[in-house]
C-alpha cells in the first residue's frame, strides 16, 4: 500500500453499525411526523437495540431483530420500516459473509440489503426515519470505499444525499433544538458525500453551515480544519459519540 492511496483510505471496518446506529437513532429523534400519528410504540424503538447489538457482533440479537421484521413483512411486505431495518440487517450479514471469504453469499446479501432499503424509501417517501437510515448507511459505505466509475454507486450516493437534504429542510425549523450530534452528523454526512462526488463547492458550503449550526462544538473545530485545508479534499469524518444502546 502506498502514500497517496493510504491518505485516502479509511479502513472503516464496521462502518455500517456506526452510521446506522448513530444517525438513525439520534436524528430521527421523537418528532418525525408519522410517529405523532401512531399511538403504538415506535418501530425503531422496538428493534434498534437488537439490530445495533447485532451490527456490533451479537449474532443472536441480530437474528432476533431480523425474525421480528420478517414476521411483520410476512403479514405486510410493504411495511417500510421493517424493510429498512431488515435491509440493514442483510448488509450486516453480508459483511459477515465477506469476512469469512464467502464473496458469493456476501454479494447476494449485499444486493438484497440495498434493494430493501431502496424499496423502503420508495414505499414511504415522507418518512424521515427511513430516509435517514438509508442515507446514513449509503454515505457511510461510500466513505469506506468509492469507485468513481461505478454508476450505480454514484446514483445511490446522489439519492442518499438528496434525501439527507430533504431531512435537513424538514428539520430546519427546529434544527437548533436538536442535539449537537444530530446536527453535526447530518451536515458532515452531506459535506462528506458531496466531496466524494467531487462537488467540492457544495461540500464546503455544508462545512460553513457546520460553523453556524454547530457553534462551540467539536464539529465546528473539525469543520474549520477542513475549510483551512486542501479545497478539493474528500471530507472524511468519523461519527462522534455513536454507541450501541443496551437491550431494552
Amino acid at each position: 500500500m502506498n502514500t497517496a492511496h493510504a491518505r485516502r483510505v479509511r479502513l472503516l471496518k464496521c462502518l455500517l453499525a456506526l452510521v446506522f446506529a448513530g444517525s438513525y437513532a439520534t436524528l430521527y429523534g421523537t418528532q418525525y411526523p408519522s410517529a405523532k400519528q401512531e399511538g403504538a410504540e415506535r418501530f425503531d424503538e422496538i428493534v434498534r437495540g437488537d439490530f445495533f447489538a447485532g451490527m456490533m457482533g451479537d449474532d443472536a440479537r441480530l437474528e432476533r431483530g431480523m425474525k421480528f421484521c420478517e414476521e411483520i413483512l410476512s403479514k405486510n411486505p410493504r411495511h417500510a420500516e421493517a424493510l429498512v431495518w431488515h435491509g440493514g440487517g442483510l448488509l450486516t450479514r453480508a459483511s459477515r459473509a465477506y469476512a469469512r471469504g464467502d464473496s458469493a453469499l456476501g454479494d447476494g446479501l449485499w444486493e438484497r440489503g440495498l434493494k430493501e432499503m431502496d424499496e423502503a424509501v420508495t414505499l414511504a417517501p415522507g418518512h424521515m426515519g427511513i430516509k435517514i437510515g438509508r442515507s446514513a448507511t449509503i454515505v457511510g459505505l461510500a466513505q469506506s470505499g468509492w469507485d468513481a466509475r461505478d454508476a450505480r454507486g454514484r446514483a445511490l450516493l446522489e439519492s442518499a444525499l438528496a434525501d439527507y437534504e430533504i431531512v435537513y429542510r424538514w428539520r430546519r425549523p427546529v434544527f437548533s433544538t436538536l442535539s449537537a450530534h444530530s446536527r453535526g452528523e447530518l451536515l458532515f454526512g452531506l459535506a462528506s458525500g458531496w466531496s466524494i462526488l467531487g462537488e467540492h463547492r457544495k461540500a464546503r458550503a455544508y462545512l460553513r453551515l457546520v460553523l453556524e449550526e454547530c457553534r462551540d462544538t467539536d464539529y465546528e473545530a473539525e469543520a474549520r480544519r477542513w475549510l483551512k485545508g486542501e479545497p478539493n479534499a474528500v471530507v472524511q469524518h468519523d461519527c462522534r459519540g455513536c454507541h450501541v444502546r443496551p437491550s431494552r
Binding site: M1, N2, T3, A4, H5, A6, R8, V9, R10, L11, L12, K13, C14, L15, L16, L18, L91, A94, S95, Y98, A99, R100, G101, G106, W110, L141, A142, Q143, S144, G145, W146, D147, A148, R149, D150, R152, G153, L156, D238, C242
Partner: protein
C-alpha cells in the same frame, strides 16, 4: 581447510537465513529482482508484462509459488499505478492480486506470506470499491493477523498490519501507537528493509514530527534510494521541513 569449512558454514547460514526470511518466494531470483526494479521506477507497462508472464505460469502450473509470485507482482503493479494515479490499473491489479493470493492460501494455508499478501491486497482494494471497508476490512485484518501468527518474523505482515491499525478509527480497533509499535518491530526484524521506514516517515510527518520523519525517510533512502514511493515521501517531508523553516511552527510538534 578450517577456513574453507568456516566459509561453507557461513554461506550456508546466510542461505538458510535468507530462506527463512522469504518462506515462499526467493527474493533474489532474477525475475523478482527485475520486477522490484520496475516497481521502484514505477514502470507500469513493464510490470503489466511481468504480471502477464506470472499469470500464464500460474495458470499453466497451478503451483503455490506461481500464485504467490502473481500476487506479489500485482502488489508492485498497484504501487507503480499509484505513482501515476492510474486508478483503473490499480483496481484491476488489486482484484487480480486478491484472486491469486486466495489461490495461494488455498494451496498452502500455512504460508504466512500468502496470508500477508491477501490481507495487503484486500486493503489495497478497499478504497476502490463502493463499501470496500465493510466488504473487505475485517477479512483483511484477519488475514494479516493470521500471517503474523504463522510467522512472527514476517516483517511485511507487521508493516501491512500497522497501516491497517493507523487508518482504522479507534472505536473499531484502530490504534496509532500500535501502528508505530509494529513498524518499529518490522524495522528491527529486517533492519535493511525500506518499507517500515517509509511508513514511519509518513506517520511522523502526519503527526507534525518533521525531524523524526526526515530521519526515517533518510533510512529508507539508504536502504533503497531508487524507489519512487520513497522519493515521493521524501519530497513531502523536505517540503514540509522547508515550510517549517520559513515560518515558525505554531502547532504542537511532538
Amino acid at each position: 581447510m578450517k577456513r574453507s569449512l568456516l566459509s561453507v558454514v557461513a554461506l550456508l547460514t546466510c542461505a538458510l537465513t535468507l530462506q527463512a526470511q522469504t518462506p515462499g518466494l526467493p527474493n533474489d531470483s532474477p525475475d523478482v529482482v527485475a520486477a522490484r526494479q520496475s516497481r521502484d521506477r514505477a514502470e507500469v507497462a513493464r510490470l503489466q508484462q511481468v504480471v502477464g508472464d506470472a499469470r500464464r505460469e500460474a495458470e499453466g502450473t497451478k503451483r503455490f509459488e506461481a500464485y504467490l509470485r502473481l500476487a506479489l507482482f500485482n502488489v508492485w503493479l498497484c504501487e507503480a499505478a499509484e505513482a501515476h494515479q492510474n486508478n483503473e490499473v490499480f483496481k484491476r491489479a488489486a482484484e487480480e492480486g486478491v484472486a491469486a493470493a486466495e489461490k495461494a492460501v488455498e494451496l498452502n494455508p500455512k504460508s504466512s506470506e500468502a496470508h500477508q499478501l491477501l490481507g495487503d491486497l484486500l486493503n489495497q482494494l478497499i478504497p476502490y470499491v463502493f463499501g470496500g471497508g465493510m466488504r473487505y476490512g475485517k477479512r483483511s485484518t484477519d488475514e494479516l493477523d493470521k500471517a503474523i501468527e504463522l510467522d512472527p518474523r514476517n516483517a511485511e505482515a507487521y508493516v501491512s498490519r500497522a497501516i491497517s491499525y493507523y487508518y482504522t478509527p479507534e472505536s473499531f480497533g484502530g490504534s496509532r501507537p500500535k501502528a508505530f509499535e509494529l513498524l518499529t518491530k518490522a524495522a528491527e526484524i529486517e533492519p535493511h528493509a525500506d518499507s517500515p521506514h517509509i511508513w514511519l516517515a509518513m506517520f511522523h510527518l502526519q503527526a507534525g514530527r518533521k525531524r523524526d520523519a526526515l530521519r526515517e525517510i533518510n533510512l529508507a533512502r539508504r536502504a533503497n534510494p531508487d524507489r519512487s514511493f520513497t522519493n515521493f515521501v521524501y519530497s513531502q517531508v523536505t517540503s514540509a521541513t522547508k515550510k517549517g523553516k520559513r515560518k515558525p511552527a505554531t502547532g504542537k510538534a511532538k
